[in-house]
Symmetry: D2
């Protein structure tokens, strides 16, 4: 496995969905940063299950404990360890999965790769691991904020409900359970969730991520380009099947004369590039989008096989998200934060932090 | 800069568009692989400029020399160095760019990051660097072929010409100058290139990449997932603004009941996942797509600034591709080959190679 | 900081001497290895303080908990997390050090690097961290044992007491509190410790580390040579100031005709190389030695300064080891185990494990 | 193989002793550094064979060409490629080695690891590769000099001739063919070389390396400690069997009260630590020593086997160094320069460069 991410700001996550705890070790955070449990907890709360009727009803309290690296309220330069106890495991719910592969899950591939697997709640493949990412992202966000950099994400599409708000406000995003910037779409989304849940099905989503005030010059060509590192970070999130920077797949039909963002003495005339040219930040907002598949943990029966190759029918029990894209919103911004922090340290070093 | 890619199969590329040469050092190729100049040359020829009237008229012969790592026709385990001399530089063509930033290029960001830049032909940011990637990919392809793995790519869309061939054949792909699997679309593409060129403009494209016979079990969760590493590799290619695995952004509107690929004793019933579940290969074909922007090097004038911040008008001279997506086809399959080879070595080690 | 070690077998350690806990995340251990708390505990017990009257009287129980990566008694391929609670901190003992730098310690350099420091018990610089290394090494040893590889270490010299046993036995090594292979030297060593302690002083030591049954072919020239990686791993242990492979510094006075180990059809005629030629294992035992400095935490007063640059006199209170080399013995063999496991995975991959 | 060294200042070397060329790609050098061929050539000349009657008579001109990364006399931030053509190969000299393993060489281990080998002149295992290290080190030295840091090395012992000059001067070191700081020892060394050569034998050596004006605070605990990284870098040099920092193995017999370097308001009272405490530089000179074995390429016959396991007698022909420690002097300082530069970039970033 490869559970470490980042070159100078390194996060190593651990823990299974139904083990005693999950967590992460954050290595490379400069010394002297004010950091409290609350800084991390408030980000974790955004991702926490059971927050509304629209997400999974698993009731994890997701209380974070800082186990190392912070002394008298400030980081020391030593690795910061976050631990979150698992409290609401219902492992029995997963007994039927011990020898059966759920289609669309890691069950089959983990079995093929490792020879066997921790089948309880998806084990290490569970999206529960993303809580650790959110914790690490919270530290990165706290640091980057001292440099003026702010990172956020929102739901841009759920099923066929496209969200293109006339007036964008982060306040609105953080106020409704869908991280939706357009209040007029909230009732439609609630309805879509309800219908889909009743049908025992799930639905895909698109999430947009934005970073403001990123200085020009971050990103290491040619292989650690800022957009390449973002692509990896975002694609590594559970259920993500696509990543776009700036105009993304829309560029296929564009002409060069319309795509290129012209420059004037007072700045760029557009941001179709998503704030990145030739792998290096331009100083404009960084814009990325991701596509999240509809989760396969649904009540509608599916054809599958067991670990001896026999045909079986699988119905996913347990408590699951109808749209995993919703809770992926804080995860996506956390991953962008980790990438930006890593690149910030490469350019500016520990000393300027 | 970060000019090295891969963990166990490491490629390090070097050279500028108008320097004496470009090349790469390939580290980690197991010993004992039969490898000749021709293995690499035939891949390079696919990307070579001046091959048809539809790509740039720069006339690079792109002759590769193996400088190390091969002895008596076989790899020794030592680093394999490939060098390609630059022969058709017309650096004078770029004099006007010394103090001016072309919109949509790395000119501005390189200046911001490094304080100055090699302005001749885009310097290190030039897509000429991708020849080195193709060379490295040729070595990976040669090795993977001994394991039965075959990798290819084709043009899937140019502007609004969507290519969805009824009968897919690699023979067709490699027979026309567009790497287009559908011969009926070739005349339309030729026409689109001509019109766009006459208008002094450029056009975007979409490329699909496929790997067949990849065994189940490649990919390291959680951060070096196979799809995450592919996303990084593909996004690091010049002009790429989006990466999809399997159904990609189509998943946003899908339901779980239709997205998940059901499994039967004789195999999967679909491949919407693109051959990757939970970051690990399923044994099905690996499917990826990329979006390439229309290049900004066009004759239509654009607003820009010089390095003192004054407003200027830029017209790009030189010999450029109307659709950079065409020559990106062999580059994309090369990058997939490098990623798969890296993961192959992680799972099977040097010894089984 | 850089708290991760290894390429494919990656250990990330965390925690401060006087924080709530220390521990490590072990990433890359193949799935299917039988692993129990006891496997780790028995190694930890060798390093545990308070085991005899010859080491520090700090009374840490050093009970390890496996927090992740093991399910039903076997590794799953997921990261294995070990946590050891700190139970016998007497942080008050260190209050006097908050603004004072102990000579020969990291106090001064941590202050210079990070701007401030966790002064309690040496914080992250404390040798307490090495318990986490021993834990990681225990996992590597368990795995390597399944391949026939056995790793051990012993005290080779303390002060001027040289230990060159006529008959070497690991049983003897593990039976006395000095890890001394020569029972006739144990009383001398006990006496030296007593005298040195009474004088309020400390004493240096040399430790030898041996790995048997390592197959030929481990080690990656040119920069990740097996000896180079061992040198880094061993030099990273607290108090180590020198590393030797095979004959080490004795080679300076040797001739080529005596140094080179001749080869016969039945094997090598000597092992002055320490089992490594050109960075690659020969199949003979791997032999390394390290020099450990006498700790600076002693009762004899020393000149120093405080963090405002004023002259002060420092007397180290607290409970300290007279010879840190003794408890470094299991740490040294743990680090060799981690290096060998890493190289084993590079050569043989996950699949052959 | 692993032919890349460094985290932010990355060097990748390539080439075999009897291939067309050797060289390296230097990645991570900040933009804007004045750099000319001469900067590198003058360092290469120190290591070049055939410089005096006391080293190998192979006559390589070792002319370096900068192939990329420098434009108009300044670095651009792009990878800097150095190429040195091989001109004086006498590969025929090595025909007798195709199936025979020289004792004390990599012949046997390369064969075991890779299944076969480039036997001409040692192939990749040849010390000729160290020319590439010297080239990379020259770039690091040029950069570090702009920060006031100066690095040098000298011969400290050859056989039993210990060199402890009363007055140390770099001028003296660079004026005699032994890099010997004590002119009174030069005749003895010349005589030892002559006698040893006549006997067809070789002799070991010790080299000391010093860096002055290194700021306090370089080094990343716990695993990338400055001394740990130096140990790896130095141990990776051909023929090195031991590495010491500061007092090295002398610490075994020392007491804490004498070892610790006391501190006063005007500085440290000693430098037994070698300028590194807890893995971090103290601001004092960095002191390291290495032991180099007597080369095994000698005329005195030795027992060995061929690749079918038959007993053979080996006599090494070709032109070889009697004391490889002499030409290792510039290699050792080059490796220290690379390590210090890497750590400099980690602490201060690209921007302050």
């Amino acid at each position: 496995m490869s559970n470490t991410f980042g070159k100078l700001f390194c996060i190593t996550t651990f823990g299974e969905s139904h083990g005693p705890a999950i967590g992460c070790v954050i290595d490379g955070c400069p010394a002297g940063l004010l950091l409290a449990d609350e800084d991390i907890q408030q980000e974790l709360n955004k991702r926490k299950p059971g927050q509304s009727s629209f997400t999974t009803q698993r009731k994890e309290s997701d209380i974070v404990q800082i186990l190392s690296g912070v002394f008298n309220g400030k980081t020391t330069g030593a690795p910061i360890t976050l631990v979150i106890q698992n409290t609401d495991q219902k492992s029995k719910d997963y007994d039927y999965l011990q020898h059966v592969f759920r289609p669309g899950h890691g069950d089959y591939t983990y079995h093929k790769k490792y020879g066997w697997r921790d089948h309880r709640g998806g084990g290490r493949a569970s999206a529960r691991e993303t809580a650790a990412r959110v914790g690490a992202g919270a530290v990165a966000k706290k640091f980057l904020k001292t440099k003026g950099i702010e990172i956020g994400a929102y739901l841009a599409k759920m099923g066929n409900i496209e969200i293109e708000p006339q007036f964008f406000s982060w306040e609105e995003v953080n106020k409704n359970p869908f991280f939706c910037p357009d209040p007029t779409k909230v009732p439609q989304m609630a309805k879509l969730i309800e219908i889909t849940r009743r049908e025992g099905d799930s639905i895909g989503a698109k999430v947009n991520i934005i970073a403001n005030n990123v200085p020009a010059g971050l990103g290491e060509p040619l292989y650690d380009k800022l957009d390449a590192d973002l692509a990896k970070a975002l694609m590594s999130i559970n259920a993500v099947k696509g990543v776009e920077i700036g105009d993304g797949f829309k560029v296929v039909e564009q002409r060069g004369s319309t795509h290129r963002d012209e420059i004037t003495p007072t700045g760029f005339l557009g941001n179709k590039s998503g704030g990145i040219l030739a792998g290096i930040s331009t100083g404009q907002p960084i814009l990325a989008s991701i596509a999240l598949k509809p989760a396969s943990s649904i009540r509608i029966p599916a054809k599958s096989i067991d670990d001896e190759g026999n045909a079986v029918e699988v119905v996913t029990k347990g408590r699951h998200d109808v749209c995993v894209g919703i809770r992926a919103v804080p995860v996506a911004s956390a991953m962008m934060a980790c990438v930006l922090m890593d690149h910030w340290l490469i350019v500016y070093g520990q000393k300027d932090s």
